[in-house]
Every structure is written in structure tokens, then in C-alpha cells.
Symmetry: D2
Subunit: 283 residues, 4 copies
Amino acid sequence: MTLVPKKAAESDQLKLVSREAKHEDTVIDLGDGVTIGGEKIAIMAGPCAIESKEQMETIAQELKKAGVQIMRGGAFKARTNPYAFQGLGEEGLKILSQTAKSYGFKTVTEILDIRDLETVHKHSDIFQIGTRNMQNFSLLKEVGKTQKPVLLKRGMSSTINEFLLAAEHIMKNGNPNVILCERGIRTFETDTRYTLALATVPLIKELSHLPIIVDPSHATGKRSLIAPMSKASIAAGADGILIDVHPNPAEALCDGEQAIQTETFHKLMEELKPLAQVLGRLL
Amino acid sequence: MTLVPKKAAESDQLKLVSREAKHEDTVIDLGDGVTIGGEKIAIMAGPCAIESKEQMETIAQELKKAGVQIMRGGAFKARTNPYAFQGLGEEGLKILSQTAKSYGFKTVTEILDIRDLETVHKHSDIFQIGTRNMQNFSLLKEVGKTQKPVLLKRGMSSTINEFLLAAEHIMKNGNPNVILCERGIRTFETDTRYTLALATVPLIKELSHLPIIVDPSHATGKRSLIAPMSKASIAAGADGILIDVHPNPAEALCDGEQAIQTETFHKLMEELKPLAQVLGRLL
Amino acid sequence: MTLVPKKAAESDQLKLVSREAKHEDTVIDLGDGVTIGGEKIAIMAGPCAIESKEQMETIAQELKKAGVQIMRGGAFKARTNPYAFQGLGEEGLKILSQTAKSYGFKTVTEILDIRDLETVHKHSDIFQIGTRNMQNFSLLKEVGKTQKPVLLKRGMSSTINEFLLAAEHIMKNGNPNVILCERGIRTFETDTRYTLALATVPLIKELSHLPIIVDPSHATGKRSLIAPMSKASIAAGADGILIDVHPNPAEALCDGEQAIQTETFHKLMEELKPLAQVLGRLL
Amino acid sequence: MTLVPKKAAESDQLKLVSREAKHEDTVIDLGDGVTIGGEKIAIMAGPCAIESKEQMETIAQELKKAGVQIMRGGAFKARTNPYAFQGLGEEGLKILSQTAKSYGFKTVTEILDIRDLETVHKHSDIFQIGTRNMQNFSLLKEVGKTQKPVLLKRGMSSTINEFLLAAEHIMKNGNPNVILCERGIRTFETDTRYTLALATVPLIKELSHLPIIVDPSHATGKRSLIAPMSKASIAAGADGILIDVHPNPAEALCDGEQAIQTETFHKLMEELKPLAQVLGRLL
């Protein structure tokens, strides 16, 4: 009567990402003591889109004060609207890597197109695969042939099994450095941009050895929900958060309504520290 | 082009439940110093279904040790399958109220049928309205005519606006004592029973003065996810949790796979205390 | 790994509604040659809400001309907004039954509250159970104790299995006269009010012997989509359609945007006739 | 209170695909009298995956008898499971184009990777963009720079607005030859593979001048539902159907459970003809 996928069979397909395949938690090492997946919670922060050298400098100073180790920023933007700002491209990548070098950050940025692989590889410490590309199997294959860590965002309508199989596509090609990211799923709910399915975090921890972080900015799409959902993510066991920070969200060229200001970010970081400690984590 | 409800207009319908209507948080007073919605986090625990006097005694002893103040237990069960156990009915209610009296608990139990109003009123301190009855407007109206606190569970496919309007149906009839409960929504995800939409908690806190609690048992349907999602709920700002506890989940007559054992419950309670404290709450 | 309901087991619960339980299609006989589930396609039409004797007279004349045999109209309205028009109640039922008697229609109207059972029983030929009450098991039980046909609308987030189990609740109590109604499910789509899941029709035909009709008005919530989706419903094998018709939709007290005008209705009926014929049905 | 996208503003982004931009229906001309979007309903049939020259010959003979003008077949397969059959690649494309040439078919096949653009361009009359690539903006841009017709499948969790904006991405780059395809959306329903949202067809017809077809095979994932949903699609106003046909579905290398056998296909084609006629279409 039913067409529900035979999960047991599908689990057999998780030859590399499953907890059975590898019992210990995978810890991704970015060098210089920066890791994802261990005791320390990884904070990745920065603007949705890289807009200018000045913007990145301003944000970098604040992130540095807050103790952030990984800076995010988009140079190639996947935009539903073909007439919206598409990102600064390679120019943006250069700004990101130069800023990061000055301040000692590791970096993460999205790759949209296979043809940009070398360029993004050169300028970023982590490849980000966005939600719309979670099943872009050609792209998964190519990043899978490198050894650079891949931040794989969950497809907005992917099951957990499909999410893990996308990671399997990367690992199968030789790259064991996959970081999973829950970023909200599409539901009937319209009061938030997506629905943050936070139970994904402990469930993935059962099923896989890979680290998992949360993106509360895209998941909620609403500035006021980012701080409480960052706390909830860490309480649920997430290995890190990916967060939109902008000096002036009202003037952001992309997704300003889901970015928090630098002051709010500092306050959040202060609140997360004792929370992490009580949960046996560091921040 | 679109049929999205005009939210601004609908907000006008929230004459009583909205934050604009009443700025201060509503604190529900159950008597004997037991409250919901204030500094103290409310833990409501017990079995999905009341099975026997002995079962309730066994659980009550453990809940007492753990410092629980409110005992839950179902006497009338809404079962999808007409051939499944339907609950002990009034006999179950008597067991609940007697056990609660012996141990000094307040009680919460579901009312399914208007014709049971007086009976449930007599035996329970809180009326629970289940997810399938969130828009049973006749039932909302009748509990709205009493002054007994109502625990209103979110409909499994209700928007937040519809959820608040259901509370408005109760308040409009004269009962201001409404406790909202996020219990998971129905999505495409099949690896958890429902999807716990935890961002509902801070969003409701913005929109309404009513207390909101979370039911991680029904939301996830999976024992191993209950502890992490309880922590996450409190970190997100919930005023309490409603949790299935059973001395022997494997033999539970209803929803055993989402109940935690008493030892696990004790451990969870110990972990929640420092977490609550760091968040400025008590437990 | 998974919590997907064990469908095979659940099928065992469909002791009465399944195709295995009864091979031949059930045909509901309303008397005077009016049937649902046989060769003839049943058209149930009328306003969402009964507003006045005059309104019902106006519509009845048009329905009569169009060859309609079953008139619909709501007297008790389930309204999300507590401040919206709640229906005329028993007064509305009287208008419905008197109008129907004058014109020789059979009638269908919604029952919301068990306490109205006798009143609705007296005035209507079919009990309608609305989408919000599909799992109001007390109500299902009570209509199940009568022999009056029950039009059971699918819950807006019910699986097909849950839908059939709700019918089983009715049949188990002794009433074999159940008519299923697909009325749209809740999805992420916002450009229609609900998503009309039309594949439900042939799938139900495989799984059950009960007749199934479609409500394109509520499913789409958009006047211009009603005619094409009525045609599609019949092409998919539906045994009838339930349709909102109003002489002046712009002034309707309830859901006017999903009602079609009487002229449009006449045109649709003319178009459906040859379509039904080519599909081996009558209209 | 709400984050629902401002639809009015978004409509302004549909500069080329909207009905306002071009009033008359777009008719795609594939040459040799084969068109999509006019009076004649387009049937695109063939196997999910091209498996061998013999398989394609066998199917081609049957399609020819049935009067089909457009043959489908996949050479590059997007597979969730990295260990499943990935398609024959360029070898498959050659089989497709040679078979089509022998029998006088036009062809449609999926392009997954920008780097295959020239190869697919050479062997196929239509580029198919699959559901997982609907927002692969790099790919949309590249096919948009050609003049070859593009069959754009709806993303499995895309709104209608996002679907039309994806078409706008193609048209904005200079290619006006876009064919939209409804192929089912992801919902909570598990008894069908996806939910065929058929009201999309008349809604798209209102909003856009582009032709729209339906894929009942992927939408339902269930062989027995394909014939009724094909009829329903045409009754709803679709300009064509895309259908999996396989001589021996039980042995198909890909998605066999949603393919119909050639005899069933012949029967369906015979049933569709009078249906099309009664709806004022040709087949």
C-alpha cells in the first residue's frame, strides 16, 4: 500500500557517513588550532553578502573582539530573483581572504558553479554548498575530489536520509571533511522564513559521526529569533552556529532582515559562553 | 495573485491574547505556590495513558523525588486506530486525582468530549485540549466559560496565527488562563514523528503574553531525542515542558516509544537545573 | 532508524472500509433515485453559509435549472476567527430543509457539535463532518450510531491512512454510509488556499469501496480554478463534486472568494456533461 | 508580524514570463510540425533511463504505433544514492538521438552538468532541467543563452512564484522557449511519492503565457495512478504529459515502479483521444 522508502535498505547506502562506519566523532581541523566537531563550539559569522572592503573590515574588527575564529561572507549569491544583487564574484573572494588574513580568521564561502572551483579553493578554507545545491551531484563530486572541508547545508525539503546521502556523495569521492548544517525546512508555516527542525541535531548525532552546525539566520529569517535559537541549537548539541552579522542590517544588500547587528552579536556571544560551559562545551 | 491571509487584519482579531492587549507576561496560578509562566519552569510529567493505580503510584514516587509539581496522565485517549486502547475514562480520572492528592501534585489531563466537561473539571487542575481539537470550537467555547486553566496544544498543521486565534476563542468566552503548547507540526520529515518547530517559542513570546510550554515527547516521537530537545526548549525560552515518563516504556499501552524511563528522567532533571539557572530561570 | 508508521499493520485496522473487506463499490442511496457512488456523478452545490430564505431561494432556482439533486449550505460554521459570522444555526437548518423540500433537493450540511445531532439529523439528508473534525472521534462515533449518510472531509493534514481510519471509526459504530471527500491538504504552497491532492481519488478507489468526491472550492480557494479542477476531479475518477455557488460572491458572508456565480456554474455543468460521458459516467 | 514574501513586488520581477508581458500563449515549435503549447497536446514518452539500444528500439516501435512525437530518456541520472546506476552518459545520448532519427521523433533528455551543455545540445531537441536543478542558476543561465527549448521541472518544494522566477532566469538570458512542468511537490503524504499539485496548471495559465505540461509518473510514483492522473492533467488544461514507459518495468534500472507497460500506454492513449476532443484539444 505504501511507497515510503525502505529505510533499512537505504542505511546500507551510508557506507561512510554512518555512525556504524566510524564510531568516534569526526573533528575537522582547519589548522592553527581551529576545529569543528570537538569540545569547542564553532562560531562562523559575517555578512550574507560581501559588499565592500570597508564593510568587511568593520565586521572583522567586531568578530575579532568577540573571539570568532571563522568568518563567513558570500561572493556568489544564489538569488531567486534574477534582477537582485548577485554578489561581487571573485573580487568579493579576494576581499574575504585578505580581510581574513589580516585578522587571523579561517573562512567559509559558498560555491555555486563547478567552474569556480579553483578560485574558491584558493580563497576559502571551507567550501559551502547551499541548500539549493544539496543534490547538485556534479558539484558534490568535484568538492569530494578535494580535501578541503565542505559545509553542506541541508536541502530545504530534504529528508535526513537524503541529507546524509548527499554527504555520502562527497565522502565517496575521497573527501572525509564534511560538516553538516541544518538551516530550516520548508513547511506550511509562514510566520518564519523556514522551520528550524532542531531535532535534526541529536538525530544526526545518533546516525552519523560527522559534525553538525545550525544556521538560525536563514532558518528563521527573523532577527529577533536568532539569539534564542542560537542558544537552543547549542543546548540541542550542535557543534557550531553560522550566523549573519551586519553593521547595518537595514542597508544590507542581501537578507538584511535576518542579520543581527554587531552589538546584539556581542551580547549573544556573552550569553552563549556560560551556556556552553554548563553543557560541557567550550566557546 | 496571492491568497496569503492578510496578517495585519488577522492581528486585529487577537483582541485578548496579543502582547499589545496586555504587556506583562501572564502567570497562571494553580494554587499552593505552583505557577506557570513566571520565573520557575514548569515540569509536567507522567504517562501518556493512565493504566492502573499501581502504575500511577510507581510514577508518582519518582516524580516526587525529582521535584515535579504537576502530574499528567490521559484517561480519554484520541486514537487514530479505532481498535486501540481508548483509555480508562472516568475510572482513570479518579486514579489520577487520588494519586495527585496523596503526593501533592497538581494535575493535567485531556478533555475530548464536551459531555465530559464536569467530570474532568472535578478531577483535574488543568484542562488539556489536544492537537486534534485545537479547532474544535465548541469545546474551546465550553472550557472558555470556566476559569480552570487550559493547556492548548497547537494543531499539527496550524499556523501560529491560527494557534493564537484558538486561544482567543477561549479568552473571548471569559477564561484568561490559557497555556500554549508547541507539540510539533506535520512536515515531509519521516524520521521523527512530527517536526518540533521550536522557533515558535520566542515568536509566541513576542506576539502574546500567554505562557508557552513544549512537548518534546509527541514532537519527536523518539525517546533518545527527548532529553536534548527538552534542553533546547528551555534554552529557547519555554515556560515549561510536558513529558511522557513511564516506568517501563516497552509495555506502555500508548506511545511507549516516546516515553522516557524514570532513571533517564531523573538524569534529565539534574541536567536541566544548571541550564535553567544560567538562563535566569528556576527549576 | 525510522518512525514511519508500519502501514501493513495499519491496514489490518481497516476491517470495514478496505477494498478487501468489500469488493464492490458502495453506492449510497439517498432515496428518490438520488445516489452517490454509482455511474451517476453527484453534484452538491450551494452557498458556503446559509444567509437568508431569499438567498437560498435564488440559488435553489438556479441549481434546479442546472439539474442539481443535492443542495449544500452551512448553518453552523467553524470559523478560525472568533469574531467572524458563525452561521444562522437551527434557523439556517430550517431554511435549508424548507427550500430543499420546495425544490425536491436532497441536502447536506455540517455538524460541528454532538449536542446538535438530533437537530441536524432532522433537517439534513447527509451529515457533513468538516476537515477540522475528521479526528473528532466522539463526533464520528455518534454519527456512526445513526444510519444517515456521512460526508467525511479529509483532515487538512491527514494521511490517506488516517483518513480511511476515520471512516473506520464511523463504520465500526454501525453506519456503512460513508462518503469520503478530498478537500485539499496544507502544504508550503501559498498561491492556492490548500493543495488539491487529486491522486487521492484513484488511490482511495484502490484501497476502499467507499465513494469519494472532491471539493474544489475549499481546496483551491480561488474562483477561477474551480471549473478546471472540477473537470480534473471527474477525469481522475471522482464520484462527485461539492461546490460553492453564490448569486453574488462579492457579498457572501463566508468564503466568497472561492464561490462561483450561478452563470459560471451553469457553464461548468454544460461542460461537465460531455466530459462525464466520454469517461463512461453520467451527469 | 509576517514574513510572507511580498507577492506584488515579486510579480514585478516576472518581466518576461508573465501573462501581462505577453498576452498570447507561447507555442514552442520543435520543427517538422511538432509543437508544444498549441491546440495539440504533446505526449513525451519513454524510459526513465536509457539502458541499451535494444531497449530503446523496443520502446520506439510502440511509441510510434501510439502516435507519439517526442521521445524521452535519461542519459545522466541524478541519483540520491551514490551507489545507484548513474546513466549511460554520452553513449546513452547517442542511442537516444539515433533511435529518434530512425523513427522520426523529437527528443528530450536531462542536462545535469554545465560541462555537458554542448554534448546534450547536439543530441537532444529539448533540454530538460530536473526538479533538483530548478534553482541551479548557473545551469539556467547557460541554457538561457541558447535557443533550444527548455523543459523546466518545478522544484519539489518550490512555490509557483519561485517556479516562474526560475523560468525568468532562462528568458532573461535570451531564450524564450521555456516549457514548464508540474511534477509533484513534497508534502507529509507518504502513500504517493510526491503530491501532484494539479491546480498549478490552471493557475500558471493565468499567470504566464508559457506552456505547462505534467509528469504523472514522478508525481505519483505509482503505476496504477498514472492513467487517471494523465486524464486529470488534460482535463485541468495541461499542454502535454511526460510519462515513463518501459517494456518491462520490473526490470527497469531506474524508477520502475512508476513506469507503465507499453500495453497500458496504448490503452491510455486511446482513452485520452476522445477526452482531449471533448475539451477542445487534439491528440
